[in-house]
Subunit: 355 residues, 2 copies
DNA sequence: CACAATATGCTCAGATTGAGCATAACGCCT
DNA sequence: AGGCGTTATGCTCAATCTGAGCATATTGTG
């Protein structure tokens, strides 16, 4: 497979495919990651820092795009993910194409520009085949500020807000200061205005403010490349960054954040949840999955009403005795609604407190 | 610049950037096209057919991605579009990455796979600098069934529906027949269910049914490549395809359709219209632009109410005497709303009759 | 000066949405 | 058996939003 990544002249490009494979178990959204970099695309290990950002960051599944084997980009992605993981990808959607300079730091050493087409894929969680390199990881462990299911995450007020306020204050001039203030207001503004879909904006803000370990890592790499002494970040910033979730290799956490936002947006107007569920499910199970993805709790009775009114599901006639409490009826997704209706989806509003 | 497109071994890839540059003059949405293919990427001219699909199809602006000059994909696109056209791109957004086999037919002759990252860019229409190859073209001339501003376009009932009904009837088996029926229902179903955002689905359906001249062209090319005698389409199909708007080179009409859908979707929740307007405008002018993009007429008084309630604009105090009728007050966009509000946009519903 | 054309303001009924109350059906405990 | 906690499910109600129309204001034109 390495014949695709063979060019080493500067000015050359390489195309890869990155997958954000999502599943939901019970109430936990998970993403498929690999412990080691596929094709050894990891940042050069930097011994002694003791930081996962440097030592062994997790990566999203990545593979080369091979035009001789792959009729389309999407088929290429499907093929190698399904081959390597044994998963059955139920829904695949192109997310975004990333091609910034030095997104693979080996470009600094004359390596090619690695352009990566990122895909979002939905599946049911199942045991993983293959070499055991891949594993499911809860995706809010990478983006902890995105999980509002038990109310506003404390980390926003204890870590993010103070650090961002400090970042605003140290702006070099008034103009930058105003810009920073505006970005912070948009991304982490009032309780009411927290827009669950803008997860990418929030990650990028944290990265800009040096509050993602990846930002610190990249600054380090760039300094080294220019022969400058690496300037260590202020200890508070480093501590804050450490408290803000696990880092990933390269720009993979950015890709994850964009997948989260896209998926949340899709929930509103396309029935994507059903690709994460077994054929039969209770309405509450459905609700839990929606909450897991959207990151917020919804009003149970109204959720029911919306789903029923949309005629997205039909009762199977079966009853699921789950343990304590009244047993629930099970439902199945009506694949044919796509034909009749158009705006089929489950709309949500801003986060609410409690449940 | 050609050093990027130099590889001719099969199995190689090339990355390009394609731009859908949009402007609105008065009430006509327009798109920037080039008469000839940039870098001679046109389909091989096929003399004697007398069809624009074969002879000189228009193309979207296309340029190579040059990693040595371009820090990011978006900057690369901005740079060469602005350099070549002299336009000031006000808003740029990545659309989709296209990488299907034979999307550049020269791949059949051992050429590289051309992967193209498509961008949507908004600007104000202005005279074009440069060689005069580029020009503004009304974009509904490529997708005439998308313009519902004077009610349901007649072409849907006179051309599309009959042709699609015929396509359903000639399905090789019941399963295909059902699938085709479903797709037709989703894309060109009832009046009420016409979802303006799904323009890509509709183009792809027409392409599948052979009702886009590009589909006929591609079938022709593929037949030739396999040494088969080109099978001419039934005359009714060809006539229908000719009646369904102008074709474009390669898959460029598909890219245009996806841009239209994306832009329509964005209208709802981001204030993108203002990037197509001068700094001061009347509310009716704003309405005309929204209608031009969304393809449907809106209720004047309610549109006003929505815009005012969202506090998207503020009065300038000026009055525009446009000719007959009461002169209108002019407004300007409040850039700062982005900071306060989140769901800023102009939401629309399904198409309605009259105006 | 009537009238056509456009801008702008207001009303109102029907649909949608957010939130809570009430009842039903189970397991578990005493 | 009966009370209790727990979950499922059904219903109500007020606040808001939305679609559609009526009314009035301000201009140019015949």
């Amino acid at each position: 497979m390495d014949h695709v990544i063979r060019s080493n002249q500067p000015g050359h490009t390489t195309i890869g495919l990155t997958a954000v494979v999502v599943a939901v178990t019970e109430e936990d959204p998970r993403v498929l990651v690999a412990r080691r970099m596929t094709h050894d695309l990891a940042t050069p290990a930097q011994a002694g820092t003791g930081d996962r950002a440097f030592d062994s960051p997790e990566t999203l599944p990545f593979g080369p795009f091979e035009p001789t084997h792959h009729r389309t980009l999407e088929l290429g992605l499907r093929q190698w993910v399904e081959d390597q993981s044994g998963l059955d990808l139920r829904y695949v959607e192109q997310l975004y194409t990333f091609g910034s300079q030095y997104r693979d730091p080996r470009e600094l050493a004359g390596g090619p520009r690695v352009v990566s087409v990122a895909y979002l894929a939905l599946t049911q969680e199942s045991p993983l085949a293959g070499s055991g390199e891949a594993q499911w990881r809860p995706w809010y462990s990478y983006l902890p500020w995105e999980d509002w299911r038990s109310g506003r995450p404390p980390v926003i007020d204890t870590v993010i807000r103070p650090a961002l306020t400090h970042w605003i204050d140290e702006a070099p001039n008034l103009r930058t200061r105003h810009e920073r203030k505006e970005r912070v207001a948009i991304c982490f503004g009032s309780e009411a205005g927290f827009d669950m879909v803008r997860s990418l904006d929030r990650y990028e803000l944290l990265y800009s403010a040096g509050l993602a370990l990846e930002a610190i890592r990249d600054a380090h790499i760039m300094a080294q490349a220019h022969g400058l002494p690496p300037e260590p970040p202020p200890p508070e910033t480093l501590a804050a960054a450490r408290a803000l979730g696990d880092p990933m290799a390269l720009d993979n956490r950015r890709i994850l954040a964009s997948a989260l936002g896209r998926l949340r947006g899709k929930l509103d107007y396309r029935p994507v949840v059903f690709d994460l569920l077994p054929p039969e499910f209770t309405l509450f199970r459905l609700q839990r999955v929606v909450e897991a993805l959207s990151g917020i709790d919804v009003h149970k009775q109204n959720f029911r009403r919306t789903v029923m009114a949309a005629e997205l599901v039909e009762p199977t006639g079966h009853i699921e005795a789950s343990g304590r409490g009244r047993p629930a009826e099970t439902y199945r997704f009506r694949r044919d609604v796509m034909q009749e209706k158009h705006d089929v989806g489950i709309s949500l509003s801003a986060p609410r407190l409690g449940g």
